[in-house]
């Protein structure tokens, strides 16, 4: 390859890359506020599903753990919402857990998962999730794992059900220890 050809190629590639970088920086600037707004709306929507009586959700951090402090209309804290990960059948399951003042579960939501469609993916259904309401640490086991357990596993998806249950319980244990 001739020297001239080489330099020409390098030059063109540099120009194209620089232009593309500039363009992307502009697009990023334009879309960033919208993306952040969408994220907030969605976060708030899920928080409100867990704590319908909550008026305000304030982001806080304590000992390196981020959570939402749920305030009612009088400004009192009525609970907290945490996010936790648990290893399921097809990877990590991201769970949002609402805890009330007494340390009981207020409600949970699955944010992200990669479980088998039609089996493990049923962990996102209300039929499974509503079982967690009002449960305490001691009750957060699958019925088949421990006699105190109060959670029914989904048929054919024991691993996914156990992952969610254990994840929520471990989170509660961690929170209670810190109290």
């Amino acid at each position: 390859m001739k020297k001239k050809e080489l330099i020409g190629g390098v030059l063109i590639l540099t120009i194209v890359t620089a232009l593309s970088g500039y363009l992307l920086a502009q697009v990023y600037k334009i879309t960033k506020p919208a993306i952040e707004k969408q994220k907030k709306i969605e976060e708030e929507k899920i928080n409100r599903e867990i704590f319908p009586e909550g008026e305000e959700f304030a982001e806080k951090e304590e000992n390196g753990v981020k959570y939402f402090s749920v305030l009612n209309s009088e400004g009192e804290e009525i609970g907290k919402i945490f996010t936790t990960l648990s290893l399921g059948y097809g990877g990590y399951i991201k769970i949002k857990v609402g805890v009330n003042k007494n340390g009981e579960i207020k409600g949970i939501k699955i944010l992200q998962h990669n479980e088998t469609p039609g089996l493990g993916a049923k962990i996102t259904e209300d039929k499974f999730l509503s079982q967690f309401k009002g449960k305490t640490v001691e009750e957060l086991y699958l019925k088949k794992d421990k006699s105190e357990g109060k959670i029914d596993a989904i048929t054919g998806a024991t691993i996914s059900s156990r992952a969610v249950t254990d994840g929520v319980r471990k989170l509660l244990e961690k929170i209670n220890k810190k109290r």
């Binding site: 390859m1 050809e5 020409g8 190629g9 390098v10 063109i12 590639l13 194209v16 890359t17 593309s20 363009l23 992307l24 697009v27 990023y28 879309t31 919208a34 993306i35 969408q38 994220k39 969605e42 992200q112 088998t116 469609p117 039609g118 089996l119």
Partner: protein, 200 residues
Amino acid sequence: MKIDFKNFINGIWRENPIFYLMLGLCPLLAVSGSVRDSLGMGIAVIFVLTGSNLTISLIRKFVPSHVRIPVFIVVIATFVTIADYSLAALSPQIHRNLGVYLPLIVVNCIILGRAEAYASKNNVINSILDGLGVGIGFTIAIFIISVIRELLGNGTIMGYQIMGANYTPFLIMIMPPGAFLVIGFLIAIKQGIEKRGKKC
């Protein structure tokens, strides 16, 4: 400048990227389980394909052949990133469902294929038409497949319950093998129609 509509039609029917060229099957398998995600993916592909075809056709005379592949990839990656940001801003739900398959459009062989085979050799208007045609062809294909898969595998279309409450989902349809089955049947139907057309 000669405008050639043949390519536009070709991309949709005869040389449909999915049913004839069999390119871009990876994102197809991954997202065609849901109609809504499929439409998001289809629109993203149309946008990226048309944009990259347009740009590459514009710069084709300045780009020496030995650096063309990196240049094409940079152009495609730029459009994919724009699509990625825009979709995140407009519809976070679809953006999250598409997940890694949206950035992966960069390596979707339909797009580099059209850039190399068509846009780098033809004028701007024809390249745009080619991009639109192939993109629409891809979208139609992914749409048909996702309608069949979501209906049989989940009993819904766009999330609305279509089959009765007693319907037992045909689970394999929602999983990747279901996509292969549906593609196979659709290709057979397309071939059948074409063969019949020739005989008459």
